[in-house]
Subunit: 253 residues, 2 copies
């Protein structure tokens, strides 16, 4: 078993997310997909459509993480500047990609509209393509940086086509205690201390139909340790006078 | 009219957002609230429950922005470490706050549970309180850093109680063109160029009932300029053979 931790940084590019106009839905989707490949998102940054901000964020992230995934800014308009920023980050020019251009030309349009649309054919020199299952223009990747669309349906038609080299897959299991977090927080802290960094034990309070509860989520690569931690967590819940509920595991035995 | 641009950085703290377990809903809410006060979110970072990462993110953000808002990590469990990280970022100790402690003690609990709950009374020395309209423990602020809960309903009971000193309020207006982005992207680029940085003109394609459309969003502090830009955008849509639709303005005349 490969115990290497593989990490990704997600750059969510777009003024519309920062202004509150648009609710980002991509981070959660990307996180779940990457989890399946054994890649954990270490950080995510929401950044505006500004050349230097994007350039610096790309260079910083690609030096620190195994993978960088960007969403947004690869359309045909003046505020779509991801390709030029990534090219600048790598110190390479933008270059028209013949395959993308051909694909764009397949849909007929007036000459000036076609010219606008062909903006999407320019990608950083040396970049590889990311397929787009909607049939629209592909995304692209260069070294460890993967640039995809911001529209969720298009992103979801791109990401699954990428072959990542992940590490150990992080599994998770959870159980609900119908009590406030404070009732059990010390026990949880002690359990976490005994196990060290892994599995991680997260505690998420909720209120439902006037009833307080806390969902306890364990995440780690070692199923044996996860099972052991689950046992201790359930015991702690019972010692506090409640029966553990909604026990769930995201792996098959 | 105060034309100063006031910016904020939002730190979304929590492994559950990065793992995809939880969909963040706070950024959009905060963005809309801050817009009303004349504060723009310049960047947002989603970071894990790790001491050094939080400490560095706080110090970096508070040096670069007028305001820093954090969400998450102020509960009573071992993975709630925002208060200690912010204290460390400012080089001050954690200190028990008598008012919070009193408020926590009002709800009776067994001694050990009370001890866990009192963890939430420890805030950085010198911090001010952020009221919590749910009646639960307050958040806190120190200098320009405001620390609030991660649970959306609690965050929404804290943020509106804060008095920010904002700058010019960014207004926005929008209009829909029932055409693909490429049909109009060159015109938009030219309009943006003529106006310079402000107002900003964003273009957001959508597909609805099989019909392609593009929403054009203009944002800026100067209503006169916004109206002027709207006129040009509408004219561009008409020149491309379509009637502008869904014209909307977020200010009263």
């Amino acid at each position: 078993m490969n115990e290497r931790r593989v990490t990704a940084c997600v750059l969510i590019i777009g003024n519309e997310i920062l202004s509150g106009r648009t609710q980002d839905l991509n981070l959660q989707y990307i996180a779940k997909q990457l989890n399946l490949c054994g890649i954990s998102i270490a950080q995510a940054h929401v950044i505006p459509d500004l050349h230097d901000v994007i350039l610096n964020a790309v260079n910083d992230a690609r030096a620190k993480h195994d993978y960088v995934l960007t969403t947004g800014g690869i359309g045909p308009t003046h505020d779509d500047i991801t390709a030029e920023c990534v090219a600048a980050a790598f110190g390479v020019p933008l270059e028209m990609n013949d395959y993308i251009a051909k694909r764009i030309r397949q849909r007929p349009a007036a000459p000036d509209v076609m010219e606008n649309r062909l903006r999407m054919a320019y990608i950083p020199k040396g970049a590889r393509l990311i397929d787009n299952l909607t049939g629209g223009p592909p995304g692209f990747s260069i070294e460890n940086v993967y640039c995809m669309a911001g529209i969720p349906s298009v992103l979801q038609a791109m990401l699954p086509t990428i072959q990542f080299e992940g590490g150990s897959v992080v599994k998770s299991c959870s159980v609900t205690a119908f009590m406030g977090e404070s009732e059990i927080s010390r026990d949880l802290g002690q359990i976490q201390e005994r196990f060290g960094e892994e599995p991680s034990l997260g505690s998420y309070p909720f209120q439902k139909n006037g009833q307080f509860g806390t969902t306890l989520v364990m995440r780690g690569t070692n199923v044996e340790q996860l099972n052991k931690m689950m046992k201790e967590v359930k015991q702690a819940i019972r010692l506090r006078g409640q029966e553990p509920q909604n026990e769930s595991y995201d792996w098959d035995d």
